[in-house]
């Protein structure tokens, strides 16, 4: 097992957390620890959590900290190796055969290979972060297919041979947990469950993300979102929704809307489900931050 104690000067969870803050991402200690261990042990980092808690953002921030390009592979049902690893450029191969006539032509050269995210990350492991986003959307076949990649970091192309990573690539997987992932996949990863941040942290996130928002507004919005999350909603608002709500209300306020009304009018960016809105409507006044008259 190749243990790297330090990567680009990051030698402890605390150092990583501070670097993430510099990259505009506020992580708690547990996430910083898990991410650091992932880097140090050379294992993929598996982030699970409700939609909108900042899983993808964490991966992007990690890329920024390491000074690497983030290559994103968005999963979907039925995703196949041709979309995830590589594909041959068949029309070009066909043309090459036709043009060659009686000459010999190698149609399995590099110029005929279309690299997809996983192969691209494998070929440049020291300058990329591979983000395998929403793995729970893919099906079991793809999950099983990922196992080999995640433990050995190799891709075998039958026509040319096996591509091996020169060093352990940094891989981040995210899951919204719409289904349980296979135990074998979890086992290969360092795991972290991202929860909704506590109110103080969330208020800091709001102000960091949306510079126009005043502190009192941020605190009020975070309190209101906390009350919303306590309700049995089909789609509780995530961190992204909190930021947008604060931003939208601030904008409406700047255009002349009074405070509680500005929040009420902007509720559409926080709750995006008609049933939820109807359910919450009678009690909206108790939830809406009235005190944010700053």
């Amino acid at each position: 097992m190749a243990v790297r104690r330090s990567i680009v000067g990051i030698d402890s969870p605390v150092a990583l957390r501070e670097a993430l803050v510099a990259a505009q991402y506020l992580a708690d200690d547990t996430l910083a620890t898990a991410a650091y261990l992932g880097l140090a042990l050379g294992k993929p980092l598996l982030l699970e959590g409700a939609p909108g808690v900042g899983k993808t953002e964490a991966a992007k921030a990690l890329g920024a900290v390491l000074g690497r390009e983030v290559i994103r592979l968005q999963c979907f049902e039925g995703i196949e190796s041709s979309a995830a690893m590589y594909e041959w450029n068949y029309p070009r191969q066909m043309l090459a055969i036709r043009q060659a006539g009686n000459e010999y032509v190698n149609i399995y050269g590099d110029e005929f290979l279309l690299t997809r995210p996983m192969l691209a990350a494998l070929r440049a492991p020291s300058s990329t972060v591979l983000l395998i986003d929403e793995i729970d959307r893919s099906d079991h076949e793809f999950e099983a297919f990922l196992l080999e990649f995640l433990s050995d970091f190799t891709i075998s192309i039958p026509e040319t041979g096996t591509v091996r990573a020169a060093e352990q690539p940094v891989v981040v997987l995210t899951s919204n947990r719409t289904r349980d992932l296979h135990e074998a996949l979890r086992r290969r990863c360092v795991y972290h469950w991202i929860d909704y941040p506590d109110p103080a942290l969330e208020a800091r996130i709001v102000m960091m993300r949306a510079s126009s928002v005043a502190e009192a507004t941020a605190n009020a919005v975070v309190a209101a979102v906390g009350r919303l999350r306590a309700e049995p909603l089909a789609k509780p608002p995530g961190v992204a929704e909190t930021v947008e709500w604060a931003e939208a209300a601030t904008l409406l306020n700047a255009q002349g809307a009074q405070w509680p009304a500005a929040f009420r009018r902007a509720i559409g960016v926080a709750l995006k489900d008609h049933d939820d809105l109807q359910f919450i409507d009678p009690r909206l006044d108790q939830i809406i931050p009235g005190e944010a008259a700053a």
């Binding site: 992932g38 041959w88 068949y90 972290h192 509780p236």
Partner: protein, 366 residues
Amino acid sequence: MTTPRPLEPFLQFATILRRHGFAVAPDQTSDFIAAVGLLGPGDMTDIYRAGLATFAIPHERRDEYDALFRAVFLGQAVAAPVASDDDDEVMAYDPTGVEQDVTAGDDESEVGGEAAVAERLSHRAFAEPDADLTLQRFRKAAPAALPRRRSQRRRTSRKGDTIDMGRTLRRALKSDGEVFDLAMRKRKTRQRRIVLLIDVSGSMEARSEPSIRLAHALAQSADSFEAFTLGTRLTRITRALRTRNERQALADVGGLVADFDGGTRLGDALQAFLSVPRFSGFARGAAVVVLSDGLERGSPGALVDAVTRLSRQAWRIDWLSPIATGDDFAPRTEALRAVRPYLASLSDGSSLQAICDHILNLRSAA
């Protein structure tokens, strides 16, 4: 080989986690020890976090992990309710921890006079099986008969709709790059998810055992399936049903479901189902089958609201009621009358045979 003394508590911790039903692989243990070394460890929280990350502890079992951690490293007594030395009990425990309390209203005398008022939390012993043959036939027929939907995956087929370029090229190579026939691909189909919602309240007492047996048969034969019991609580029993042995699975379910033969708060239980995003996601595009008499003790409003929302997510909802015998059955309870427009069918659920037939015909009835 003997292990170095300082490592012992860490190895012991891994063993204890394993004994409590966590899946811990040997390389996870070595990762854990490496991680502790990397972190210093400065204090106990370092060890705690290293374990959390490297053992991939599922979020719902965090409390259990906390208790075991305290027991091993801080020497405290294990106070967690699930921490037991009996392996069987851990097996019966649903690690997704979904037993959700549905808050009960205290309106005592409204609709559904027959529904039991008392919330009796009783464990139920399952009687000996007697409908073996029906279930056997059902299991045999189910894989081919369950409803299907189009998948995003494609496979080679003569009557396909898109060209399989790789295969076409390989065929053309045999004829010096001349394309004589195109290889085609078409979309595969997969089984549509079936979500079975079983009413286990007092008024359905006689039906709950065959219903759970049916759920077990479905869990064993369907590719994609979820089962929940509805009573005064909502309990996900899918995981317990995956056990192949029927007797064992039924015993596990019996241990899991705390509200057999209690009162009915269908509406509240369904609301709880919809308000857990993970659960309501199961219903999206699924064939939802409700086994219930619809005798609602709570307010009909909650039930109607829940079924309305469910109908927008599900492919279809079929309500099988044991009192709905005969073709001219008209629902008499207020709640069932109100939800009727949202149901694909409201039909006979009085016998196991009838329920099996209905589920096997879901595809053609669509």
